[in-house]
């Protein structure tokens, strides 16, 4: 049964986390679709990073190991090198982001997806990721730390 979307409110900010997705510590969401995984930026990470001006995923055919760069995001605030949390091969990238990178900000879990990877070992990949509850707890700590900085 779907648990829907978890929410974290911090001051005036509302962060959402689909309960069925898994997450890396760096704020990449992963949604397994059989032997494949669709990835993108979590709502928390996109809000922290600012308006996305350019999103450049690694091209189709690129083989990824955990910790290797899967995409580069340039916002008006920062340049982010996004690291793949899982091993796999890029089989699809979101062509809409070339002309509308703001989709990552507007719909991070839907139209703002980054890439689809063919996964080598789904169970190993799943075990390396956090559940939505676990990631929400981490996001809360990170949000509090940022306010105190």
């Amino acid at each position: 049964m779907s648990r829907g979307v978890l929410e974290l409110t911090f001051d005036k900010f509302l962060f959402r986390f689909p309960a069925e997705f898994l997450y890396s510590d760096e704020g990449i969401w992963v949604n397994f679709e059989g032997g494949r995984a669709r990835i993108g930026l979590s709502d928390f990470t996109q809000q922290r990073s600012g308006d996305v001006a350019f999103a450049i995923p690694k091209e189709v055919g690129t083989r990824m190991r955990p910790g290797e760069e899967v995409a580069v995001i340039e916002t008006v605030k920062v340049n982010l090198s996004l690291l793949s949390p899982i091993a796999g091969t890029v089989v699809e990238t979101n062509a809409d982001l070339a002309s509308a990178p703001e989709l990552i900000n507007q719909d991070p879990y839907g139209k703002g997806w980054l890439s689809v990877l063919e996964i080598e070992d789904v169970e190993t990949a799943r075990r390396s990721l956090k559940t939505a509850d676990e990631y929400l707890a981490l996001a809360k700590i990170q949000a509090e730390a940022e306010v105190l900085r």
Binding site: D51, V76, P101, E102, N105
Partner: protein, 136 residues
């Protein structure tokens, strides 16, 4: 009396893009097109100030928005503007890759450069509007 084209910046206070939109409106109305453009405050417009609404009801207005939320354009629409032409500072960022604007009260050099570029785009739109209205 020749109408000045109303220009409405978003002036968002949370991001440097809002500050850049505000500065762009000043560059436009004070430096680039002082005879043809006039800044109108978004708050006055949305809350029903009669003078502000009269300015935008008379013809095309220019919205200068910092980001894709388009607060100034939406405000103009809600205020019953006759026609809205848009400048998106965010799109200007994409044309000038590498600019990293900072500051909300005091923009850094990149922010001022961004504001200038946005003002120049807005100036072209103001020129178009003035030409159309003089032909009408």
């Amino acid at each position: 009396m020749i109408r000045k084209v109303p220009v409405v910046p978003c002036s968002g206070i949370g991001k440097s893009l809002g500050a850049a939109a505000r500065e762009a409106a000043f560059v436009l109305s004070e430096d680039l097109r002082p005879g043809d453009a006039k800044v109108v405050a978004l708050g006055l417009l949305v809350l029903g100030d009669e003078d502000a609404r009269r300015e935008v009801a008379g013809g095309a207005a220019v919205a200068i928005d910092g980001c894709k939320l388009e607060c100034a354009a939406k405000g103009l629409e809600n205020a019953g503007a006759a026609e809205i032409r848009k400048v998106a500072v965010f799109d200007v960022v994409r044309k000038h890759r590498g600019l990293k604007p900072e500051g909300v009260c005091d923009l850094n050099q990149d922010g001022l450069a961004l504001a200038r570029a946005a003002a120049e785009e807005a100036a072209r739109i103001v020129d178009e509007i003035v030409a159309e209205e003089s032909r009408a």
